[in-house]
Symmetry: D2
Subunit: 346 residues, 4 copies
């Protein structure tokens, strides 16, 4: 049986190498081509010894494949992706280049003019649980950012149900791998170890994505979102804590209300393999290395606020894993293929 | 010259041992007596090799001292402290036993009936920057909790100035030492490492303390506070991120407003040695091992919300350091004596 | 198709839970029964949320299975294992209870008299690469200790080839999970974080195992081994650095000698899926979560000493993974079944 | 009273910034001038917020001082230091440029020809405990490397006493700050975290320094030293484990021999404030942030080998602290001035 051929553009970042790891275990597709910039001409196993068995040479150009993942930085990704689409290759783009529907957001948030605004309309936002049908028939999927994945999954049921006022605080805590493999002082071990900090207080690039998607879920309302990301001394994981006032009278502010809330979340995610509504506050470690998202909704009885905590592995459900989940749909494979591994604990 | 004699009740917890470290460098007082429970009869240096030079035996009962620190757990601390006060010894209590003014809070939050409600009125809440004068003349100081220290210092200027609506979210991130030296699964290395989680979503014991103190600063208003603590994979440090709606019209939602805000904070903390209003989001590592609190107030232009981030070392400004700051005042010593060391970095 | 039924005794330690994780992904066997002590009666997913999908109740007694893993502490493990053998159940014992051939070692190193010395002869030492054939036909396999796995694999080719004098230094560095899930001060986060120490300088329990096995490889010689384990602030991984004088004249002390040495190691491990002889000093992270062992042999030109560095994940190749590798052989399944996942990086 | 003026060349590396921290607390000297390369013109507190109170501008050239520390990289340090000496300024050089007595070692190990070989004879090797008198009258002190400090202090008593054969294995484990503040992949958080590795197996630059100094202690013998450094996932600390065969008959291989050994070490270090011979295997954490070196010598009874474990904070006793210890001597101040702080724990 011939496996479906897939490739990775820019395999040497953390999203790229995680894609390679997950694809190496996928039973239905074969990773046949990977590209890199400074590392072209080297064996993949030279750079990443744990992938030595893949026996792939890093190339400058992608070979013929059925589907490609782009793990390029923004702006450059669009430049790589457009020709691939023209060659008839399906693409899952892990960059931000096709996530925002409004082209005017790109100059503001990403400092470039989008080269193909028409593709923004065509591209499907790849939060699988929300756009499953459209993803299945898409030729271009914009894989969500790591923070938006955790935040939107945490808030979608409440927003959709009109349970909360549009005054939302999203306080996210991320491991350092989210800052990428490019060397920078904030990711230097002795600086990041035994430290935590808030950053991007003036507005993080993932904010417009969160606003766009939560807005879609509550037409007519424009959510007022404050989003503050934090850097934590760990490699993987994002924990997102969301706060919003409950619409008065929607839920009793007691354990019964909590039960109703939990039921509403469970109904929303019924049948989802990768999203689990959990009884206790989840730990990022419970998702380590896996494609799962754990969500714990609760009520602050004293203040009538909704609190939702979600956990993901930023490199899996927040990047490479969700990209493969989307690929499975695009290739008409069962959505969970190659992604069922539980977290590694401890 | 004879140094003033001080003692520590329950030196073997992390607050106790940090007190011993800081006192060992103090030029005006001498640590002459320390007590412990299971370790009584051992040399302090056997349990804590870094303090071997102190040459103290761990006792069951405190010897005669001029001032005592209690680092006992709540409820037991009151039992130890009351006889000391009766003997005429000044006390800084690091437990929660004298922090809350309303005795009815103790059964609810701490599960015991307070033995001496009259002392709750007398005790001074030891957030030095807010109660300096009262501390100087107190015989009993209730040293604040680690979370309240970071949260109250972050919010006091805004609350006092009537800048924010009383809808406050406090999202705190703490290192594991805050959970103490007592063995528990959540502090087991392989569980806590490379992990983060939210906890006490139904209400943390430090909440009433925060409500009490922020309420004092805005008489007539009852702040609606949601407080969620998080555990981070690091030993020391608390970063607190606070969110609240600005009262409409008080500040322009732009850089000018940010400048005004910063100025208001700087005025509030003018002359304070240990509290610094900083230009950039602070790092917990910038306070590591020191008694400093760094505060960064800013405005979310889009939503009109105040965001304030503060950092402390939970064992120093959040416990032992602030206790010594209070001791200095109670003993009529310069407030910063023995506490001026900068953070250790990296 | 009916899967083969397997069980785990004491699933709640780190070796046990890692067995459950790996078995949950195994295509040919089904984990049908797990036991625990204090946790009996709870669902496995209550204790370990990442395994919630297994839907197993923790029992006090093992149900009927074809093969059982014992992850009990030493002495208690023998008590559990012996009745199982009598019931005709094959056993892989992860404890030390059947590793040592000489029963007189047990009182000395483990402080108990072995209940069934005759089984010590029958039990096969489960270092798969050395005892593959015997394991395949065994009913009782004594899974090696984590340190011995790394040390013996590092030294076996050199010892077997008579390349080194019997003066061996083994300096091992282990992550904290090796100390188990039982609470103890040395594994308390704030103590173990940002710390390293040597321990068991008077003799670690894994030493007799290393002496026994290296002695088997060089009959007539009695290796003089110094073994010092160290605890490192990380969860998983053992890095072992071995030093021994080369027998004079066996290898030129230059790059040519290094090439010969590498070739000798590659020949020794030819065809092995899980043992890789690598060109550069390996990182424990390159084995994280996987069953691989990476070995880097080299020569100190100046002193004529062999240096060999090996890396494993202590919970996988050092415990649960190797146990399943052995199970595969005992059940006549391909040795690598369910174990091929590469390391998770970063 | 006028304080003595001192300066730091290249304050922005980790040794430089640690010097600045320690000097900021020194009662007898004042840090009046610091230089940097890319950061010249900025305030020190901009780069290192914990030092904001120092109120120093980073310069390109050192102002007039009585003594200067050079924290420049090797080769460049000599270029900076020589003119200072000519200006009559005393220098403690933290680089390797004046550590080796034999100029022919520089091209081999450091890849440059030494510009002033005559200064190699004059420079005093700044391991304070071994060269106290010479340091006191020196105008140029070559501060030891971090690894040599731990290794030489661990072995000096045994070597000096002729206790061991000259076959020495030194296995060192260092925190990541030892690799400096310059960005590199091996110090990138996600790479270094939860990882350990051996490096420089072909010969580390600190080896000739160790050979030179241990050779000085045992004239007539040329020690055969294998030195392998390892990188550990922590910021600070070096633990060094040393192994060597005891000269036959020198010590009984039992507890009595251990007592004799300990006594010999205690006698050697009698009166030393910063070196402590300890009863139990020391932890790097017991030296965190302090200038102490803890040493634990013991005997492997089975093999007749000496094992010595030592711990230091690589940035303090291994760099900045020892440099100030030397400065104190050179300025005729009590050796421990400004350096007595105990470790910070936990």
């Amino acid at each position: 049986m011939n496996k479906i051929k897939v490739g990775i553009i820019n395999v040497t970042g953390y999203a790229g190498v995680e894609l390679a790891r997950l694809l190496s275990q996928h039973p239905e597709v074969e990773l046949t081509s990977v590209t890199g910039r400074s590392t072209a001409g080297k064996k993949l196993g030279e750079i990443f010894p744990h992938l030595a068995s893949l026996d792939l040479m890093i190339q400058t150009e992608l070979s013929e494949v059925d589907l490609a993942f782009s793990a390029m930085p923004h702006q450059q990704s669009a430049e790589e992706v457009i020709p691939l689409l023209n060659r008839g290759i399906k693409v899952v783009d892990i960059s931000a280049d096709f996530r925002l529907k409004d082209e005017t957001e790109y100059p503001h948030w990403y400092n470039f003019t989008h080269p193909t605004p028409e593709l923004l309309k065509e591209a499907v936002y790849g939060l699988t649980e929300l756009y499953r049908a459209q993803i299945a028939s898409a030729r271009l999927v914009a894989n969500p950012g790591c923070y938006p994945t955790g935040a939107i999954l945490a808030l979608a049921p409440a927003v959709k149900a009109g349970l909360i006022e549009p005054d939302i605080i999203i306080d996210s805590k991320s491991g350092v791998s989210g800052a990428g493999r490019t060397l920078k002082l904030q990711s230097h071990y002795s600086e990041a170890n035994e430290d935590t900090t808030a950053y991007a207080l003036a507005g993080h690039r993932h904010l417009p994505e969160i606003i766009q998607e939560l807005g879609m879920l509550s037409p007519g309302q424009s959510p007022e979102i404050t989003f503050v990301p934090h850097l934590l001394p760990m490699t993987r994981g994002i924990l997102t804590t969301c706060y919003a006032p409950l619409v008065s009278g929607k839920l009793p502010l007691n354990e019964e209300g909590e039960e109703e809330l939990k039921q509403l979340y469970q109904d929303f995610y019924m049948g989802e393999f990768f999203v689990k509504v959990v009884e206790l506050p989840p730990h990022t470690k419970h998702t380590w290395g896996s494609n799962f998202c754990l969500i714990h909704p609760t009520i602050d009885h004293r203040t009538g606020r909704l609190i939702v905590v979600s956990c993901i592995d930023n490199l899996v459900k927040g990047a490479a894993g969700q990209a493969i989940q989307n690929m499975n749909l695009m290739l008409d494979l069962p959505e969970t293929t190659g992604l069922k591994s539980p977290a590694i604990y401890p």
